[in-house]
Amino acid sequence: MSTQLRLDALRGSGVIAKPHNARTIAALTRNPGCTRRAVMDAAGVDKDKTAAATGHPASIGKLSPLAVARGQGFEARVKSQGGAELLRLLRENLGLPIPQAHYLDLGGDDDSVIGGRYLRSRSALAASADSGPDAGTLFDHPMLRLQIAGVWVYLEPDMVAFRLEDKFYIIEIKSFAIVDGVADPGDVTRAAIQSSVYVLALRNLLADAGHDPNLVADQVILVCPKDFSNQPTAHFVDVRKQLTVLRRQLARMADIDRLLDSLPDGVTFDLAPDAHGLPTRSAADLAHALRSVEARYAPECLSACELALFCRHDAHDAHSTAALGRTVREELGGVDCTSTAVALGTGTLVPTDDLVQAAETLRAAHALRTAILGQLA
């Protein structure tokens, strides 16, 4: 069976694949080791619906309308009037020469001509790469694309591609504040992952036009409000690490056949919706299908994957040590199950050779705990 047919079967009859965007692509990298997520995303399964149908509806990814409005307001301000604010920042901080004040809006109001818009972005950026720096400075809303599990996904980023000397940079405008040069690390990480998606897509676009993809810098420029004011400030963020993770995950999904081969025959996440779109498949049956695909739950999933509550529930039931977080799992290298950990720590189980070290740590922890509890008593 062809890959596409296998993926269609996973998704269910007549269900349209859920489209990706930069946020969902960025989320792919948050738990790269998880097969369950990789195959579901490759097939475009609506994980939100799946999670709800198992009785563990997702709790992630819902921005408040207020936060969305604030973000849009800041971005519109920074970009307005040909990016006047942006130009000021780039001139003051990066020494952008005065003649380079070109601004080209590659966006469109209409999404029925996505392919055409991609070509327009490609020719504009390629023309700039072909000539001197005078052929374009700011390119707003370029249309980009990436291949995910064999399917081209178009991205319409709210970002600006920026040319300085002979490099292109991604400029991401975000509405979280940078106070005294420091921002919330979680916000910065999320922005970096998302920007790395654009870096990769912009590199593909230049390569597609016959240019060196390395014209795109692996540093991105993050523009945020400064110190609780509405004034923008700009900072470089290095996204090399995020790019490596992203490339690896995309390669893994490109090689999706290998993962599909590991699934039991006939497994599907079809919700078998009725005429009103309500799932008719039983929660238990669906959960069974999900469990037949290996997952690797970690607390990070809670902010990155719609299935997190389902997988956490399972991980707790299975007394999995992974559910306690990556650090614990690594400390306990090889001990997968909390009851084994307890048995090793209390000495009721003799460790095999490969677990000797973990058992020592656990016994020490147990002794410490007993001592402290003794003192408290």
Binding site: D48, K49, A52, A53, P57, P65, A69, A76, S80, Q81, G82, G83, A84, E85, L87, R88, R91, I98, P99, A101, H102, Y103, L104, D105, G107, G108, D109, D110, S112, V113, G116, D134, G136, G277, L278, P279
Partner: protein, 261 residues
Amino acid sequence: MADPLGIEELDQRISEVKTEIRKAVSAQDFAQASRLRTQLRALEAQWHGALELAESSVSGKPGNMQLPVRETVHQILTLLAVPAAPRTIVAVHAAFFAGELAGSQLTYLRRDEERSFRTAPHGRPYYLCSALTYDRLTAARGLIAVSSWPLHRRIVGTLSARVDYLRSAIKLAEHIDRTDRPSPAAQRLLWQVAAGIPNASASFGDARPASVIEAATAELSVHDDDDRVQREQAARRARKQLGDAEQLFGAPTLSAVRKAG
């Protein structure tokens, strides 16, 4: 208080909430669905309100002492002398005019002008029309211009946004210079504009018209020639290729052609 949402934003919010309702229903979360429905009703009420507001100000109902929106916008664009976005028009209005002008009131302005032009071409002394992109000659997103300007001034090339920013800064500064006692709002606007131009303001919050004019003119001289070449070429093409209405409101976009075909 925050600006009320415009009709387009409301449209978008309404469709988002509808999607959320569908999701809640399919997840059998009926409490959430009912909360969302209440929200939907409130948004729909706001939508009707916004529509009425837009209609009343566009038609300039009797009893409304302000100038009709159309004329106000025309005055502001004449002052700036370049195509401008609703956001800019609203800011200039706040600095120089009495009364309120909300961005949502400009939402359907251009569309209404186009309709009027198409039913009775050249029936009015001027139309509020589009600026045209230099490459495709389609309507440039979000800009409003005046039909009586020379066509090349309504073309948006790659340097035009910057050139027009500098030109409008000069115009604003000249206007403030002529005004006896400019309002604090006008002075603030001048400083905000000056902040985007190298050497235009002496210190934070302080911009004198003369130095804004000098600084903007200096940067303008760097871009002006390149910009004019691009604009004039595009304008020649537009006159050759486009009919009267398209010259004002833009060549049809690809999708519009498809729909018609």
